[in-house]
Amino acid sequence: MANERPKADVVIVGLGWAGSVMAEELTRAGLNVVAIERGAWRDTSTDFPPAVDPDELRWHTRRELLQPMSVETTTFRNKTGQQAAPVRNWNAFQFGWNVGGAGTHWAGMSWRFLPWDFQVATQTAERYGQERLDSLMAEGLQLQDWGVTYDEMAPYYDRFERIAGTSGKAGNLNGQKIKGGNVFEGPRDREYPTPQLKDTNWMSMYRDTTEGMGYNPFTIPAGNISQAYVNPLGVTMGPCTYCGFCDFHGCGNFSKSSPQACILPALMRRSNFTVLTETEVLHAVKHEDGKTVKGVKFVTRDGEEGFQPADVVCITAYQMDNVRLMLLSGIGEQYDPATQQGTIGRNYSYQTCSSVTGFFSGAKMNPFIGGGALGVQIDDFNGDNFDHSELDFIGGAGIMGYSTNGRPIANMNGIRPGNKRWGSEWKEAYARDYQEVANIFCQGTSMPTRDAYLSLDPTYTDRHGQPLLRLTFDWNRNDTSMIDYTTKKAVEIMREAGGEDIMVDNQAEASWNPYKQHSSHTIGGLVMGSNPATSALNPYLQSWDCHNVFSVGASAFPNNGGYNPTLTVGALAVRAARAIHETYINNPGPLVEA
């Protein structure tokens, strides 16, 4: 092929968190790595320094760090049989459009998933009986384990936390529960790299209120780090200033965990690493026998096509694009909801969430003191941390009182009900309520179903003529019951805290809609597992169908936790990269027998 590049040991498709973590591991092991990134180079001091970063209009309202919809969007429908239409604005999830990917514009909440999240099927049967599991499956849920346990993931979580500099306080050190940390978390064998962030006024109120109600509040582990820190790669991060311009923004002072702040300074200097920016991978190219791929076909910004040969292909793009690239490459079989055959596109889930807003007369919440991951949470109603014997659902939600931002444009609607939304009355109300409003967020689990999946759209294509990805999704009964239950708990907390004029936005009350979501945590479609009939990837994130293809992203999650996905994505990236350089590269072939 014309414009064929020199062969690499590994080609990385998408240089966000997953791609950066893998490239760092693999180059340190001596492999020659080429990363191909659709977006442009973005750097802290030149693209979003402190004097540029807090530009809400540019970054949050106009979303300039995100990929333009004209480059690629998805189509959407609620159920099979409907005509899907293209999504025309970023709301439910956001593709990155730069080196660093969504890891540059994320908020920073840095959770380990619960041990239960990795073994939903097994642990549900163990605790509530096989019949309970069978009845959920009969109802349409498609519950399955990840093929990896929390204990197996713990060392990879630890590694990623060290790279990211995560702030927090341990709640379970080697099995010993520690008040003030999250006593429900899986055991960790050492403290967080940096101490927890400080409380805002609302966080203190939330902490005191929930503690008084008998719950176990703790500060959310954060990738907005609390003090200067040098990570294991020798890269220094700066302390967070609580500026509150985090999600949708870059970070100007090296405080938000991101590929820019944590990995790229070391990675970019390695002679065995190359990145091609503003270059889009169209698909992988299979060998004639179809059992492996020989590299990836790409197109440059100037429209020139090329080929990057490699021994190993790592697909580490956004969750949606990981699935789409597998389908465009013809690797594996498209999932069919009618037969449940095929694994690519299977187990798509969103995240089931709600918000509770209250007003505190005369309060000074000072929301301009913020951080993307700044908040206090209780996990008493998350995962399987509470008894579901008498409840008609499994799963739960983390319930947080948060101080993530005080962005003046975004918060304009945060005024008491009954006030005019325009004119002098609105101005007066906003000036008052900016200081008096407080929010609680329920970030809930989502269980996969037979009917929610991803596939290629038969009608709509991108700028290169390749089909868009089609999303078929609606809330399921289990998850709506879960969020109804946990939202009531959040309302009780808001009342107890003294909040008035309480407003509830339960996202699962109406059919899922890509323009009205408060989460952005979209998962599945290329899930890991120990059974090749129900998973696309084995427990080392290796394709069951082409053994030299690995894929890392939230696309690998078979079900969604009541948490942000990034830390789990980073931990899986460490796991996959180590499997490649410790085992696969010396002895290419399936790492797990099918």
Binding site: S45, T46, P50, A51, L233, G234, G238, G252, F254, P265
Partner: protein, 436 residues
């Protein structure tokens, strides 16, 4: 760098006129007799792995790559040095026989490096042969062995093709050499420690520190009486390296200096601009022992007599206003108390580098700059440009504030100095509000 080359160019013309017998000392190549004169670099091979490794170390110390490595490949030359008289281009020093130095014998190599007598005629003093003259024969032999292992690259370079008459006459450099070139090797001082002597050898030889850190006279030569007391190199200022307690290294230990050379920061100051490049490409490779030797030598220098800077008198209202400006624009990285971030962002508190010549601060504000990337300190954080946001007066004011806060006191920075630098650097004008 441009300014002193201009001066050097001027003196060249004057000196060339008087060239004669006087040239003998500076052109005497007797020191090169120890070098072989039969095998060319293209032909030469060495199986002495230790010599090659030592030679690479000498190359790092001399920072050859800084000028000789650009897009064309390692040591293939092509770095353009703009001067008011035209453009000099760094030569191809790979062993390519046609376009590099492959045709040189070891003796030719010695003559070029230590005396500026090149294969195409006299070298321009942009090449620091005035310092490399101090290299020992052993270091030169090792460097020769190392250079023979460099991949030959075909890259034809016309070093002085961009220099119009009369500045393209290489022989004129002989005149400059007669006046200013000290054709002497390094002589250890018996009464000083080994570390001191090793430090002096690195500072005066391969390190060629004085090339930037000593002021130059009107004829472009280093002023011996102000040795390492700070030099202006155009749009950057190389600060005083003597133990002056106000604007120099007073208060820094030999260990602090060693840490700075190896990592680009001593925990307070952070190397930027040309010094970041020197650390990144050269000084970080010094052994711990050599880095400490440099520190030992520098801390033993006589302190310059530059007096303590006089604090600027700022009105209380200005201080209050500028404290806000500082908090909004600077504090996110440099800290509310000017404490910086250790190993990454310079502190303003207890940082002598801020108090003398403000050139570097103005440059950093207008164009931004970047710290060194080193094995020990990987971040290489950037200082953003404020040229788009602040006008000359605003830049001057915030610098004056920083120079007179956190325990500091120094002369005010003038808007005129900022304007001059903005012009010289072609830094952009600030954004203006649409109305008024």
């Amino acid at each position: 760098m441009a300014k002193w080359i201009k001066i050097a160019g001027g003196v060249v013309v004057i000196a060339a006129v008087g060239a004669g017998v006087w040239a003998w000392d500076s052109l005497n190549t007797g020191r090169s007799k120890v070098a072989g004169d039969s095998v060319t670099l293209a032909e030469f091979t060495s199986d002495d792995a230790e010599a090659i490794e030592r030679g690479e170390y000498v190359m790092r110390m001399g920072d050859c790559a800084a000028c000789h490595t650009r897009e064309a490949g390692e040591f293939a030359g092509g770095y353009e040095i703009a001067t008011p008289f035209g453009t000099l281009v760094s030569s191809n020093i790979t062993p390519d026989a046609e376009t590099g130095i492959g045709g040189m014998t070891e003796k030719d190599f010695f003559n070029a490096l230590r005396q500026g007598i090149g294969q195409h005629g006299m070298l321009y003093p942009a090449m620091p042969y005035t310092a490399y003259a101090k290299f020992t024969d052993q270091d030169m032999h090792d460097l020769w062995a190392y250079m023979s292992t460099v991949e030959p690259v075909q890259n034809d370079i016309d070093e002085n093709g961009g220099m119009p008459f009369p500045f393209n006459i290489r022989l004129a450099m002989a005149g400059w050499d007669m006046l200013f070139f000290d054709n002497e090797g390094f002589e250890p001082v018996a009464s000083e420690s080994d570390a001191w002597n090793r430090g002096k050898y690195i500072v005066d030889g391969g390190g060629h520190c004085a090339a930037c850190h000593s002021p130059r006279n009107a004829l472009g030569a280093e002023v011996a009486s102000a040795y390492l007391q700070g030099g202006n190199i155009g749009d950057w200022y190389a600060p005083d390296l003597t133990p002056n307690p106000h604007v120099g290294l007073g208060g820094s230990s030999a260990e602090d200096i060693a840490t700075y050379l190896k990592t680009g920061t001593d925990g307070v100051a952070v190397a930027a601009g040309p010094m970041a490049e020197a650390v990144e490409h050269s000084l970080q490779y010094l052994t711990d022992e050599d880095a400490l030797a440099v520190g030992t030598y520098l801390t033993a220098l006589p302190a310059s007599d530059t007096p303590a800077p006089k604090a600027a008198s700022l009105a209380e209202t200005d201080m209050v206003r500028l404290a806000d400006v500082y908090e909004v624009n600077c504090s996110a990285c440099h800290g509310l108390d000017g404490e910086g971030i250790e190993g990454m962002v310079p502190a303003f508190s207890a940082n002598h580098g801020l108090l003398g010549d403000p050139t570097n601060m103005i440059h950093a504000m207008l164009k931004g700059t970047r710290a060194a990337h080193t094995e020990a300190a990987q971040t290489a954080a950037g200082m953003p440009s404020f040229a788009w946001k602040m006008d000359d007066t605003q830049v001057a004011d915030i610098l004056t504030y920083v120079r007179n806060s956190f325990g500091n006191g120094a002369e005010a920075v003038s808007p005129e100095a900022v304007a001059e630098m903005r012009e010289a650097l072609d830094a952009r004008e600030p954004l203006r509000a649409a109305s008024n």
